[in-house]
Amino acid sequence: MDVIIENLPLYWEGFLRTLFLSVVSGVIALAVGTLLAAARVSPIAALRGFSMAYVEVVRNTPLTIAFFFSAIVLPRLGVTFQQFEVAAIIALSAYTAAFVAEAVRSGVNSVPLGQAEAARSIGMKFSQVLSLIVLPQAVRSVVPPLINIMIALVKNSSVAGAFFVLELFGYGRQLANANGDQVLMVLIGVAFFYLLITVPLGIVASTVERKVAIAR
């Protein structure tokens, strides 16, 4: 127990950085993912094809490879960054965006056909149908899966710890190496801080799910 209390500032710093990585990547992923989903249902064939290809490839790519890509390949392409955090955020948001896109797309499918038909019959354009009628209803039904994706994102951010970003897992590794005799306590501390984020989010997800289920 002592080792956790002694290193509480480090844990706290790691916790905040994990939170930071997750929130920033989460916001970017939500925006990009929704755009990808909109592109996937759009009338322009090239957009549909691009979105489909992106989602298919990224969903089948292990996160570690995504990290490798943004940490090693991107700098070669002229995208340089001072901190590894940026590489981590790029990898996490590019990876998560594909899952967001899939979730939003399935939400679009859950909107009854009549909604889009009605919107079109009163003369709305595609962009209006999507942004005024379909997406608002779709997003509502995908809130629980989106929260689950965000939980996965928080957990995935731990991979950044292996790529030189000192977040919760990164500090955990450092502390575990420094306190070889108290590894158990060190890692339980790390686990506690992860659960501090993931468990409340999980509870929110299931509550929202119940609410939506009743409303429908």
Partner: protein, 279 residues
Amino acid sequence: MTSVLYDVPGPKARRISLLGSVVGIVLIAGLLGFAIYTLAQQGIFEGQRWAVFGLPDVWALIGNGIVATLSAAAVAAVIAFPLGLLLCLLRISEVAWIRVPTRVVLEFLRGMPVVLMMFFVLLVFATNPFVAVVTGLVLYNSAVFAEIIRAGIQSLPKGQREAGLTVGLTSFQSRLIIELPQAIRRMMPSLVAQLVVLLKDTSLGYIVSYEELLRKVQLMADVLGFQFLFPVFFVAAAIYIAINFSVSRLAIGIERRGSKKAAGGVAKAEPAIVEASAK
């Protein structure tokens, strides 16, 4: 492809759409071209860098890496599935002192990063990396399998269980003989999708120094020199994606077959705005 979201395009809309497509393709091609050009400037595509693939040793290493990746995934899947079944049965037990602790354990396992669990097993139990990777994968995925199967059981019509109990089966027998088989069948697509996740997560073994495909590639680059990291990394990434892609295809195939055969279909059959054509 027709869609309920927009009208069948007329001549003007077709022109705009075509223009959009051309611009889009040119943009993407331009980006790709720029990327390839920049890489070529740095000599990435010079023959000698790729000459390593002429060496049988390199392929042997890559082969070993693939075997290591697949065997970790296979062992983990084979253990995680029955464990998931068991956890699911405990989770829906009618006895509160079995159900509640199981729920807590499941929430805990699902809220943990898989890397952390692998790392935990590696350090605390001082196992070899293979055991750490497999244990981490089993702990996480059995919890997920349990939740998927539970969702399947809950999606069954109530009458199934009632009928089972009526003909004199015990609660447990009804779960095992009547509900589980149907639930598993219904949730087959989700289960196979989770299998892809499991396969992908073996790459986390890289972090706990399990010598799977990525770690092998890294080691190879350490030995041969950094300039070979690029080619071997690309080949490794392509292999990983190809393997995952084929398992995903399998999931889609099962989903298609399932929706024809399974009683009541797999759990979803609403008319859709977007056709799930390539999914």
